[in-house]
């Protein structure tokens, strides 16, 4: 086989791969505009599922829960995780190397065990102290727990890539501790903070398993709504709901792509 033919075959393979990656999402979006409830036959274009969706209290509640959970957990996780990434960096020369294992734990633990461990723990705490009844608060805690390591690792990686003498240069150039944070640390970490913000939001919206096990009766999110609709066999609006989530993710992908460009130009 000639190199040219080999390359053509490789290119063909790549397009097939893209088809494989995007077909399921495209199909969801496509059938969300179907005028009948079927994924086998497209009977005509219609916005009927979207109209139904915006008239459905349960879906609107789930949408609000999803947004509140994603934004709330991200806001907390970026602060806690950013501080952790910084602390790990400052402690890197001391005997705290084992901490990195603690931070990798949420990353490598299977979702299902993560979710179930938290559920049983919250139930026990609730029985014992009457605190943390399953609901948005328990979900928030669970989301923050799995977001924190990702934020910490991103911020830490950025710090490790910096010249350590920069920190001393700040002190040397009359910066008080708060000025070091305000005029050096935060601006220099901004790209890492922005990408960890996006990542944390995505992780929260993307999560189903952990949310499912830590949710309460009133804290249904969109993925949980879709799941129970499938399980109950009632599926009319789910393509439309799923499309909304897909659009949200693609918007974030676009933002991250645009955020990357100017940063790359400056450096």
């Amino acid at each position: 086989m000639s190199a040219r033919a080999g390359h053509m075959a490789l290119r063909g393979f790549w397009y097939l791969l893209l088809l494989f990656l995007y077909a399921p999402l495209a199909v969801v979006v496509f059938y969300s505009f179907n005028s009948i409830n079927s994924s086998a036959r497209f009977a005509g274009f219609s916005l009927k599922w979207y109209r139904q969706l915006f008239g459905n209290e349960a879906i609107l509640d789930a949408m609000a829960n999803t947004v509140v959970l994603a934004v709330g957990s991200t806001a907390i996780a970026v602060v806690i995780g950013g501080a952790l990434g910084y602390g790990l960096y400052r402690y890197r020369l001391r005997r705290w190397g084992w901490l990195i294992w603690l931070i990798y734990l949420p990353v490598i633990m299977p979702d299902i065990i993560f979710g179930i461990a938290e559920m049983t723990f919250f139930v026990a705490i609730n029985d014992w102290l009457g605190l943390l009844a399953p609901g948005l608060s328990t979900m928030l805690i669970a989301h923050v727990t799995f977001q924190v390591p990702f934020v910490a690792l991103l911020v830490n990686a950025r710090l490790l890539a910096l010249d350590p003498q920069l920190f001393e240069a700040c002190e040397d150039l009359y910066a008080r501790p708060w000025q070091r944070a305000r005029f050096f640390l935060i601006p220099v970490l901004m790209p890492a903070i922005a990408s960890s913000l996006l990542l944390a939001l995505t992780l929260s919206i993307d999560d189903f398993v952990i949310s499912f096990f830590t949710a309460g009766p009133d804290s249904t999110t969109l993925p949980i709504f879709i799941w129970s609709a499938i399980k109950k066999g009632v599926t009319p609006e789910i393509n439309a709901v799923a499309t909304l989530l897909i659009v949200a993710v693609f918007l974030m992908a676009a933002v991250s792509l645009m955020a990357r460009r100017p940063a790359g130009k400056n450096r």
Partner: protein, 293 residues
């Protein structure tokens, strides 16, 4: 210096605290639960016993049944199959990206990653739409005689494997791409000179150099695949269940928490054994090279 130390401790404390209180403690609690008896409503209760493990091994009132053992073996088998398929697809894909101009590469990588940012449930819904009875893909499979007419490709083990591959493909492409980017092409040229077959070139020049990426990717794919819950539940339709589903059912429908906890413990142990096997395999394949794991 003292004040500085205290301030630093303050930066670590919230993060370490959150992970310790809300993940380490619950995990310890879950593991401990495996060694308790099952009370009314399936909740754990005293005394300490190995009842859950006995049940897990298949000993019930009706004597021994191999159901749970089959679930474990099926999980391992499906994980292996999906991982191998992912590797076979990811190698050419990662290589293709490195043949593209440098400014395009982040865009191509993003194209690979973005679908995995959508929810697992939604991705499964997508495959349900494609594989349902009466869809063009199902009709084609029926016309080719692969499935009985009117059956559809979903629910089936085939759909589960497709779902697993689809879910975890990006996690293999990313580290492999990173490895390909660092590939020393001089070694590949030398191998082309020395060996006749493309396979020998791959085995002796490409594979050893991309091994760290392959190993990292295998960990990122195999661990979550082994713990998969959503895909098997939605696309398998009750068949092709894996340990994750078994464990989850003990906490939802079946209601036997100690049994579920024991299952979770077995999951963790099998995962750790898998990591060890991978590590040894990496050492063997890589020779004296350092393999990051």
């Amino acid at each position: 210096m003292r004040g500085d130390s205290r301030q630093l401790l303050l930066t670590l404390l919230p993060g370490v605290g959150v992970i310790t209180v809300f993940l380490v403690l619950p995990s310890i609690y879950l593991v401990g639960m495996a060694f308790l008896s099952t009370g009314p409503y399936g909740l754990p209760t005293g005394p300490v016993s190995l009842q859950a493990f006995r049940e897990l091994a298949g000993f019930g009132f009706l004597g021994w049944s191999p159901g749970n053992l089959y679930t474990l073996l099926r999980s391992i088998g499906q994980t292996l199959l999906a991982t191998i398929l992912v590797i076979l697809i990811a190698y050419p894909a990662a290589y293709y990206i490195t043949t593209r101009p440098v400014p395009w590469r982040p865009v191509l990588l993003l194209a690979v990653v973005v679908p995995s940012w959508t929810n697992q449930v939604i991705r499964s819904v997508g495959w349900m739409n494609i594989f349902a009875p009466g869809t063009p893909v199902s009709d084609l499979a029926a016309a080719l005689g692969l499935i009985a007419p009117e059956m559809g490709l979903f629910p089936s083990r085939f759909a589960v494997i497709v779902g697993l591959v689809y879910n975890f493909l990006p996690f293999m492409i990313l580290p492999l791409y990173a490895a390909f980017e660092r590939l020393d092409t001089a070694q590949v040229e030398a191998a082309r000179d020395l060996y006749a077959t493309p396979w020998a070139v791959f085995r002796h020049a490409v594979l050893p150099q991309t091994l760290p990426g392959l190993m990292a990717g295998t960990v990122l794919v195999a661990i979550p695949a082994f713990g998969m819950y959503v895909v098997t539940e939605l696309l398998g339709g009750g068949r092709s269940l894996m340990v994750g589903n078994f464990v989850a059912r003990q906490f939802t429908q079946a209601g036997n928490w100690p049994l579920g906890a024991a299952g979770a413990l077995i999951m963790i142990v099998v995962t750790l054994i898998g990591l060890k096997v991978l590590r040894d395999l990496g050492r063997r394949l890589g020779g004296d090279r350092e393999v990051v794991l």
